[in-house]
């Protein structure tokens, strides 16, 4: 079943633009706070620990593990009716950050909390790449 609804896509902001530029170039980029060392995702203008603005971008390999997941039998919105079952997941990276994603190239019955996963760069068009994940 295809969806007649327009798929929602991210519209980067000045602060988040480097993250999306990274994905378009096939690279996961994370912010790290210089004074306190905390890694940050999603991108912010201030560190959510010490509120410092002294933050730099770093390239990381993006490999992590599934912190949790769900498989939907009902689309979470009609825009996703063509993606059911949606394999929604939260991935935790070794830097201590978590991100929301969907899993690809994996059977529903094989998804486990704790499974190792790596980035899958899903280029929707020239401007937008989503960061999905697949088994390592």
């Amino acid at each position: 079943m295809s969806s007649s609804f327009t798929k929602p896509v991210p519209t980067p902001t000045p602060v988040t633009q480097p993250f999306w530029d990274g994905l378009n170039a096939g690279q996961v980029r994370l912010q790290q706070c210089n004074p306190c060392g905390r890694w940050i995702h999603y991108p912010r203008n201030r560190c959510p620990s010490c509120l410092s603005a002294d933050i730099d971008w770093h390239d990381v390999d993006g490999i992590g593990e599934v912190y949790t997941f769900t498989v939907t039998e009902q689309p979470t919105a009609p825009h996703f009716s063509d993606e059911v079952p949606q394999k929604l997941a939260v991935v935790e990276l070794p830097q201590g950050v978590r991100l929301t994603t969907t899993l690809v190239n994996v059977a529903v019955s094989d998804i486990r909390v704790g499974m190792a996963v790596k980035p899958y760069f899903d280029a929707l068009d020239a401007d937008t790449t989503l960061l999905r994940y697949e088994p390592v």
């Binding site: 609804f5 327009t6 798929k7 929602p8 896509v9 991210p10 519209t11 980067p12 902001t13 988040t16 999603y42 912190y67 949790t68 997941f69 769900t70 498989v71 939907t72 039998e73 009902q74 689309p75 979470t76 919105a77 009609p78 825009h79 996703f80 993606e83 949606q86 929604l88 997941a89 939260v90 978590r98 991100l99 929301t100 994603t101 969907t102 909390v113 704790g114 989503l130 999905r132």
Partner: protein, 399 residues
């Protein structure tokens, strides 16, 4: 710290909750007026005694909501609050009203959460596709618009499902225990004429065979949208003595907010209701073991399980066994959601949490008819907003 317990709930009103509402449609301002009149009559108060109001969103105004309501009711107020805590709103309203009364800035406060359908607009309105994202913000610059919605992580079901899945990985998951929670609550709800599922108990098999929505959550573990709504009147000690019913004192409260999207929770299965409940119990001078009942916000089964654990009714990781081994109905040692919970009432827009507060008041006043508890002096009440992101707790006691 906190309240002395002198402010009390003295009256309430509750619409019958219905899946297929065929009654008169009313705007939220109109429901406010009707619920306020009903609650005043219930308490035995004159509407002109109202000098405070606590509201949430209304359908007719995006800004200046308290003033809109004060004007519509024709009631000038000394205290007006708009609470934006999702399912934690009703509990949040009660403690704010009690605090204002204890401060002496008002004597009688009305809190209402309408949830009936409004009239159909004769002028056709453009379809806004973002309304399907519900409580997830699609506004540019919102973290959810950028990092959640494009992946489909939106609204409530999938977030709660992912919390349940994480819980299962850490502590084990027992679908039968979760089904028993639904069965026990629906048994209570079967005795509640205001519930959408009045006289409609279910079996374990009914729950386990209901449609899988977002693994592991099934249809009967998720609240059903309905028409409904309710209101409360709180008053100071002096006014409460003149009212019709046993005053229901606000003895303790707590509130704790952490995240909007559970992905970013420090620990997905240790929820904000923990610190909120600890504060409420400490303020009231009671513990979980002292409660005669627990009216626990139940948008999903997993919400009740985590609240039982994090509020201290059982140990961490022991919730599934607690659900299995205890009678949770009105006949049990600690009845849970004696009105059937929202799993029986249904959830009327943003008013779901009001049902838990109204039921605690009804029980403590001794007005719960077929489901009245013999011992009804102390109730724990919780509220949960967002996806376990903002939670609140009350300890209510009979005078």
């Amino acid at each position: 710290m906190g309240l002395s317990g002198k402010a009390a709930i003295v009256g309430f009103a509750e619409y019958q909750h219905e899946r297929k509402y065929v009654g008169e449609r009313k705007f939220y301002t109109e429901q406010w007026a009707e619920l306020t009149a009903l609650a005043c009559a219930d308490a035995g108060l004159l509407p002109d005694q109202i000098d405070g109001l606590v509201c949430s969103d209304i359908r007719e105004a995006g800004m200046f909501v308290p003033a809109t309501i004060a004007e519509y009711l024709g009631k000038p107020v000394n205290f007006a609050e708009r609470v934006d805590l999702g399912g934690a709103t009703a509990v949040g309203m009660v403690w704010r009203a009690a605090a204002a009364i204890e401060l002496g800035i008002c004597d009688v406060v009305v809190c209402a959460l309408p949830g009936l359908p409004i009239p159909s607009n004769p002028i056709p309105q453009p379809v806004n596709e973002a309304r399907y994202f519900q409580s997830s913000s699609a506004s540019w610059g919102s973290p959810q618009a950028e990092f959640e919605i494009p992946y489909g992580n939106l609204a409530q079901n999938c977030g709660y499902a992912m919390i349940a899945q994480r819980y299962g990985a850490e502590y084990g998951y027992d679908p039968v225990a979760m089904a028993k929670l639904v069965v026990d609550q629906r048994s209570n709800g079967a005795k509640n004429p205001n519930a959408a599922f009045y006289n409609k108990p279910v079996t374990i098999d009914d729950v386990l065979n209901s449609k899988l929505i977002a693994d592991p959550l099934r249809m009967l573990e998720i609240v059903m949208p309905v028409a409904g709504g309710g209101a409360l009147i709180l008053a100071n000690e002096e006014v409460a003595k003149q009212c019709n019913h046993r005053p229901v004192r606000v003895a303790g409260f707590g509130e704790h907010l952490t995240i909007k999207t559970p992905t970013y929770a420090q620990d997905m299965v240790r929820t904000p209701v923990g610190p909120a409940s600890a504060q409420a119990f400490a303020m009231a001078g009671f513990g979980a073991g002292d409660m005669d009942m627990a009216q626990i916000y139940d948008c999903y089964t997993i919400t009740v399980l985590l609240t039982l654990e994090d509020a201290g009714f059982c140990g961490k990781g022991e919730g599934m066994a607690y659900l299995r081994d205890n009678d949770l109905t009105i006949n049990g040692a600690l009845p849970i959601n004696t009105h059937g919970g929202q799993l029986s009432m249904g959830q009327a827009g943003g008013s779901g949490g009001m049902t838990q507060v109204v039921e605690a008041a009804r029980q403590i006043m001794g007005r719960a008819d077929d489901r009245q508890l013999a011992k009804h002096d102390l109730s724990y009440v919780s509220g949960t907003g967002g996806v376990m992101s903002e939670q609140s707790a009350l300890i209510l006691r009979g005078a």
